[in-house]
C-alpha cells in the first residue's frame, strides 16, 4: 500500500497521461461520429505530448533559456543540472504543429464524407453504402 502511495505521489503526471490515453482511445473506438473521433485522436496526441514533457522535467531546475547568454560575458560555465531537459520540448513543439496540420486534413476528409453522404454518423454511412 505504501509503495503504491509513494508511486502515486512521485508519478501522478503519468496517471493523468494514462487517463487521457484511455479517454482518447475510447473516443476513437466507441464514438460513431467522425468529428468526435477526430477530437479523440487529438486528445491521444496531447496525452503523448504530456508524457514527453513530464519525462523532460527536472526538480529544482529552471526553464531552458540560459541566464548568462543575454550579456556578452558568458564565461562562467553552464551546469546541465540547472536547466530542464530541452530535448523533449523540441520534439513535442514540432509534433504540436504537425498535429494541427493532420487535424486540417482529417477535417477536410470529414467534410468530403459529409458532402458525399449527408451525415457524419458511421452507422448511417454504412447503411447508405450497403443499400444500393
Amino acid at each position: 500500500m505504501e509503495a503504491i502511495l509513494s508511486s502515486f505521489l512521485t508519478k501522478y503526471n503519468y496517471w493523468v497521461f494514462i487517463g487521457l490515453v484511455m479517454i482518447g482511445m475510447y473516443a476513437l473506438i466507441a464514438k460513431r461520429n467522425l468529428v468526435k473521433k477526430i477530437i479523440g485522436m487529438n486528445i491521444f496526441q496531447t496525452a503523448v505530448i504530456l508524457f514527453y514533457v513530464s519525462i523532460g522535467a527536472k526538480q529544482g531546475s529552471t526553464i531552458p533559456i540560459l541566464d548568462s547568454g543575454h550579456g556578452h560575458d558568458a564565461h562562467h560555465a553552464v551546469q546541465a543540472i540547472d536547466y530542464i531537459n530541452p530535448l523533449p520540448h523540441v520534439l513535442m513543439l514540432t509534433a504540436i504543429v504537425v498535429s494541427v496540420a493532420t487535424l486540417g486534413v482529417a477535417l477536410a476528409l470529414a467534410i468530403k464524407v459529409h458532402q458525399q453522404y449527408g451525415t457524419l454518423e458511421e452507422d448511417e454511412i454504412a447503411a447508405q453504402i450497403d443499400k444500393p
Binding site: 460513431r32 529552471t62 494541427v100 457524419l120
Partner: protein, 81 residues
C-alpha cells in the same frame, strides 16, 4: 511545481477531456476541446516547457478551435453519441 494548482488543473483537464467526447453537440465539443487545449498549455507551462506551452496556446487553443468550428459549420452540429 505547486501541487494544489497542479492537481486542480489536472482534474479540470480530465473533466474537460471527458466532456469534449461526451457532449451531444459538436459545437459544444469543439469549444470544450479548446478549453482542454488551454488547460494542457497551463500544465506544460507549470512543468517549465515554455516553448511547448506557447505553441499549444497558439495552435491548440487558437487555430484548432477555429478549424473545428469551421468544419462543424460546413457539416452538421448533430451527433448521436
Amino acid at each position: 511545481m505547486i501541487w494544489p494548482v497542479d492537481l486542480i488543473i489536472m482534474l479540470l483537464v480530465m473533466v474537460s477531456g471527458i466532456g469534449a467526447i461526451m457532449v451531444r453537440d459538436l459545437l459544444g465539443a469543439a469549444v470544450l476541446f479548446g478549453v482542454y487545449s488551454f488547460l494542457m498549455c497551463l500544465l506544460y507551462a507549470i512543468m517549465g516547457a515554455v516553448d511547448v506551452a506557447f505553441t499549444e496556446a497558439s495552435v491548440g487553443a487558437g487555430v484548432s478551435s477555429v478549424f473545428f468550428v469551421a468544419a462543424v459549420f460546413r457539416t452538421s452540429r448533430r451527433t448521436k453519441d
